[in-house]
Subunit: 336 residues, 2 copies
Amino acid sequence: MPDPAPLSVEVTRGPMVESRHLVHVVAVDGDGRILRQWGHAEEPVFPRSAIKMIQALPLIETGAADAYGLSPKELALACASHGGEPKHVSTAAAWLERIGLDHTALECGSHWPTNEEATRGMAVRGETPSALHNNCSGKHTSMLSHARHLKEDPRGYIGIDHGVQRRVSAAIGELTGTDMARVPVGIDGCAIPTFALPLKAFAHGLARMASGKGLPTDRARAARRLLAAMGAHPDMVAGTGRFDTTFMGAIKGRITTKGGAEGVWAAALPDHGIGIALKTVDGTGRAGEIALIEALKTLDLLRPDEVDAVAALARPAIRNRNGTVVGEIRPGRPGF
Amino acid sequence: MPDPAPLSVEVTRGPMVESRHLVHVVAVDGDGRILRQWGHAEEPVFPRSAIKMIQALPLIETGAADAYGLSPKELALACASHGGEPKHVSTAAAWLERIGLDHTALECGSHWPTNEEATRGMAVRGETPSALHNNCSGKHTSMLSHARHLKEDPRGYIGIDHGVQRRVSAAIGELTGTDMARVPVGIDGCAIPTFALPLKAFAHGLARMASGKGLPTDRARAARRLLAAMGAHPDMVAGTGRFDTTFMGAIKGRITTKGGAEGVWAAALPDHGIGIALKTVDGTGRAGEIALIEALKTLDLLRPDEVDAVAALARPAIRNRNGTVVGEIRPGRPGF
């Protein structure tokens, strides 16, 4: 039987559909059963930053999080693609200092904050970006923390054979039921390895994070702790005006979501023990956001008050530079 | 007979194709004959900013360009989606002053420059953006210029019934052979009307700009003058590091190209009398750039030295934040 059609997302302008996107989406329970799929479930995708909540498991499981007394806010930052706003940067800097390092230990490279106001503020103060402003600096600080806690040489922690990446990839492999020695490997934007996973396996890992099913007690507890931290501090996970922050804020963190580059999204639903993973075929984020909410609504996983709370995200208006509404982004008919 | 397949563009990471795009492309000669098409030729698309070279015809045809002594640099800016760099802003400001107006007459709305260095420079100097920094400020100054020259009230010049927009839409209709009263109308990002055209008609308009075929002598001369201005001043058409500027610079302006929002591109080839129009299905610009060069190469419209000069644009590397090459964008196999 052929796969069902991918979810379709339309971008309109006036009376016309101007652009179209296709999105592969899979929802899976803790036992790995597919509850619903749109498009392909078995095709491998690089999960990119959407998998940060799983990548953060070793931070807790090695004992590093407790040894360094990490707060829920810091755990949320470990799973973040942050906007480089002052609160993100200062949280990462203080955490790094606590583990006896500074920004020069981060091997993620630097870039100006994705938050434009933060970038302009830095320019006004005559500052230039360091690796702390990299959207992945929380994840990299997390990785350095377990290296330090285990007394490993932190240098080269981004390498696939370093203890850090071996622990991270082992966690991904175990959660998603994947033989990590056999999957395609790429290099992520922040220089660590990214492992291609079938969308279904990725969703299963997220369902295990949400449900604890099939996980050792300690791992299930670590997973719950990370999801709770992200839900409690959505402003640390992305940033002002960005989807994950706004969405989790609107639904009070009841569902944990995390986007990644090239239109990947992850959702973990502890209340239902469900995981959802999606990939926009063309890599655009705008389509992933709409598809995620559409999938949640179709599967009746949002309460009526939550549907109302996310209405502006589910079908966002497009405005011109004068603020006039000129179109919208919305779920579309199947196919192109 | 079904349409041929759209052009495909692939984005790779390591050993895998991570994202895919489809692009409709049509190449047409001055008589309106399709030389080659990939995907749909008849489906209407909003040409967005890619049609600025046609929208600028009334600037010359009303006599405004000569009355105000406009330079080729200013004519190029009339056809630009500029980055808001100091040279763009100062050129627009000086031109506006010459027609007795200032930035408050521009009805395009304001935004921070798309050029990030320009934005940071403004922040350092404590400046905030005006409509001069809007990427369309050259086009709007051009529109105000014919309104002033014809002694029309410039206020409300963005309205579909104002003399300015009536002249602009008449030029588009005549060049593209389109009954403008019957096409879908949307509002562009800069608040003026945008008229949906079949891709083939848009390409025909570009071929007429390039060849002068079927145009009155004065109009053919105006078209040549605009294309020559853009080719001579590619830095005014887009900006530092952006496709149209880099591409036209690399081929010494022999082909005039202009991108627009939602993955639209236009090319006019005076040497061959050919026009090319394309639209990325999903609206991404990165695919439009690759598709344009691939179409030009396939149709043997680039000389060998030009193929070499644009090699880095034809198949650009993707780098991580440390500068390591982690993938590329390239022409792909047909279909998804």
